[in-house]
Structure formats: C-alpha cells, structure tokens
Symmetry: C2
Subunit: 244 residues, 2 copies
C-alpha cells in the first residue's frame, strides 16, 4: 500500500463551497486529520479514521499526518477555507524540513474558497482592486510587525482583509488595529465585518472606521477595510476596477 | 417570471475546482454572459443562451446582463477564478451606480478559486503568511501607483501575488516591476511563475529574483514573490507561519 498526504481546504462552511476535487480526495482517504470543528465537517464512513485535535498543535498534527502517510495510509489534512492561507499547508511544509524521507512522499495541496473571498462575495466586491491579507493574531509574530504592515497597506491604498481579528484572550490587538487604521485612513473609510459567511450564523455589517468598535469582530469574523475609492451601491460595497 | 443575476467564479480552469454552488446556478440559468473563453467552459443545453463577448468591454457586458435580468431572465455572468478578484463583480456594481431599478434586482456573487490560490497550492504554500495581491496591468491605473504599491509591499515584507503580469501589447511593465522588486528585496528572493494552473498547460517554475526574466511570464501566468522568510523544502516553496 502506497501512502499519500493531501492538504485540503473545506471552504468557509457550506458544503456547496467544497470543490469536487476535495470531495473526491476525502472519498479515497483512510485517515482525516485536523482541528476538531473541521474534522467534524467530514462524514464518518467505514474504512475512514477521523483524527480530530485541538487548536495550536499544528506542527504536531502535521508530523502525525506525515507519519501515517509514510506508513502507507491515505491521509487528508483538512483546513477550513484554503489550506494555504493561514492554515495547515505551511505547518506541513515546516514539518518536512530536515526530513528527506517525508519530502519524498506523494504530497499535494488542494485549494479551497478562503474566508475573505466568501466574505467579499457576500458583501459585494470590496476586494475588486489591489488588496492585502493580514493575520491579526500576534501568536506567531510581534505586534510591531502587524502595525508596520497596516501602515504600509494604508499608504499603498490597498483594500485589506483581516483574519483572526480578535481573540477572547487578547482582545486589545484589534482595538489597536482600529486606532492605526483610523489614523492612516480617516474616519470615513468603509469597514465590513463578515461573520461565519455561508453558515446559518452568517452576519454582515458595514460601517465607517469612525463607527467601528472592537466588539463588532470575533474569531469567526473576517474584517475587510476598503481602499480610498471603496463605496456603497445599493446594499453592496465594492471597490472600483480603476484607480488614480 | 422573476429575473435574477448571479456573478459566478469558474475557478482557474479544471472542472474539479468549480464549486457545487456555481454548478447549480448554471443549471438554473437562462443566459450566460462573459468573456469568450470563459463562456466556452459552460456546456450548451436547451433553454440556455450563451452570450460570449470580447475582452475590455466589461461595463457594456455588465449592463447587458442587468438589462436581461431586469427583463425577467435568469442570468449568470461568468468569470474565471473568483469574480471579486480583478474580474466581473466590480464591473457589475459600477453598472449599478445611479440605477435604483437595477439595484433592486436579486443579485448575488458566488465565489470561486482565484488563480493565486491554485498557483500557491501547486507550488506549496508561498502565501502562508501575510500577503498582497496586485494587478500589474496598467490599463486601469497609472504605473506610478503600481510602483508605489510594490515598494510598500516589499517594505511591509508581504509575500505578493501578481495578476496580469505581462501583456503582449505592454511587456515593459513587468520588466520594470522586476527591477523594483530586485532593488527592494535583493536578488535571492524566491519568485514562482505559475502558468495555467489546473489545466493541461500547467507549468511551474521557481527561481530567484536574480535569475528571473520577463519572458518567464505571460497573461496566463500568476507570479508569486515570497517574503524574506520564504524558502524551498524538497520540491515545494512555502512561507513559514511565524515571522519576526
């Protein structure tokens, strides 16, 4: 039996946003590995072993998945959204460092609809012009780097998508981010809070930076800040294609 | 008969990357509107009228689609990739400006796998840390703005994904972009050229900025430049999750 590893994105929540490629690979798998709520999205079946694990153990999880693939299992590591955007793909490649045996395994990344694309679609087209994508969690990088990136993004007039804007344990980071953004972009810039898009808990709110409060975001929210030309039309928010 | 408009993303090329949501809406449509090669990806059937049109007529195409929806047709505007990333969604919202009658229509955006996500997955995980996404075409913005954005993106140490890097009519833009990037990031920074990912013509090439030449890109290529920590492991390229 020849093992393999696939790192697959389940999309933001709805089964209608899971690609046929990912559905097909899950049907072939012997083992599914991932964070508890993502593994819970995979239907149990005979011949499939589910390996749910807690958050913040990404590297251990990646190594366990690689061990199984090396032992001949057909392993899918699942992420929500896209596995290459603040998700498991980088953790798996980190685990490959210094391990030529694991590097020789059949390993593939299967893309998914990442949260900011679903959020932007639900709101209209706020990412329709040049944009950036920043993980606001300071677990893996210092706050100073986040602030530097916010200021450059504002000066470049990028629209911005933020993942992990506000954790229960460190709510002050998003408060500081809003202060930096108001300073750089002014109070009239549009900001969209898109929570749990494509799930029954979906909630969308667009306000100005002057009106925004930290409590409008939680860890299930993607936050999108427009560029200087981003505007409302009807019930939508969009960034025009042209600028300058 | 009540008309509606859906703006749907067909993904980068493979049918295995088209979401079930998009497949379902295409099955309900009476009319499909879009750029010739994208409309060609929709299978003809009885009751469905295909409206292929040439490139660079996005606003006319959007208005024609809205006219049909207002007349009671069930219209899908198709884009490749994701409709909200340098594609038709912004053009449709531009067409809604000053038209409250069209703003009242049932209009939805259905996300898709945008080219940079498929390209990143094929290469490994080069967008696994904070990144930006820039359309290098200067059809709709001045070159000076592109250069400013490249410099801020480099100073912010973002990984970067570039769409439309090099057109046959204006090949010099990408030459200039490579010069700016070499100046800001140095010759050792990794750059990936991902052409026609998920199609039979898929081709991947990763080199350093010092080795990169403009001819490595064409209009079917997404270019991804790593951040300062992006590295190779085995046959993959990835950006580590942590920085600083």
């Amino acid at each position: 039996m020849t093992g393999w590893l696939a790192i697959a994105g389940l999309g933001p929540g709805s089964d209608h946003l899971v690609t046929p490629e990912v559905t097909a690979i899950l049907a072939e798998a012997t083992d599914v590995v991932g964070y508890i709520p993502y593994v819970a999205r995979v239907a149990p079946r005979k011949g499939l072993t589910l390996h749910p694990s807690d958050n913040r153990v990404e590297l251990d999880r990646a190594r366990a998945a690689l061990e199984m693939a090396a032992a001949g299992r057909k392993v899918v590591v699942v992420s929500s959204g896209d596995p290459g955007v603040f998700a498991m793909a980088s953790a798996v490649f980190e685990a490959l460092e210094g391990r030529p045996d694991w590097q020789a395994l059949d390993t593939r990344v299967l893309p998914g609809i990442t949260a900011m694309l679903a959020a932007a679609a639900a709101a209209g087209a706020p990412l329709g012009h040049d944009f950036c994508c920043i993980n606001l969690s300071d677990n893996l990088k210092p706050w100073a780097m986040i602030e530097t990136r916010l200021r450059h993004a504002a000066k470049a007039d990028f629209a911005m998508a933020f993942y992990n804007p506000r954790s229960a344990s460190r709510p002050e980071g998003f408060t500081k981010a809003l202060e930096v953004l108001r300073e750089e972009c002014g109070p009239d810039r549009l900001i969209t809070f898109a929570r749990a898009v494509s799930t029954p808990e979906e909630a969308l709110l667009t306000v100005t930076l002057g009106e925004a409060t930290p409590e409008m975001a939680d860890m299930r929210t993607v936050v999108i800040v427009g560029n200087s030309a981003t505007r409302r039309v009807g019930r939508f928010v969009y960034s025009p294609r042209s600028a300058g």
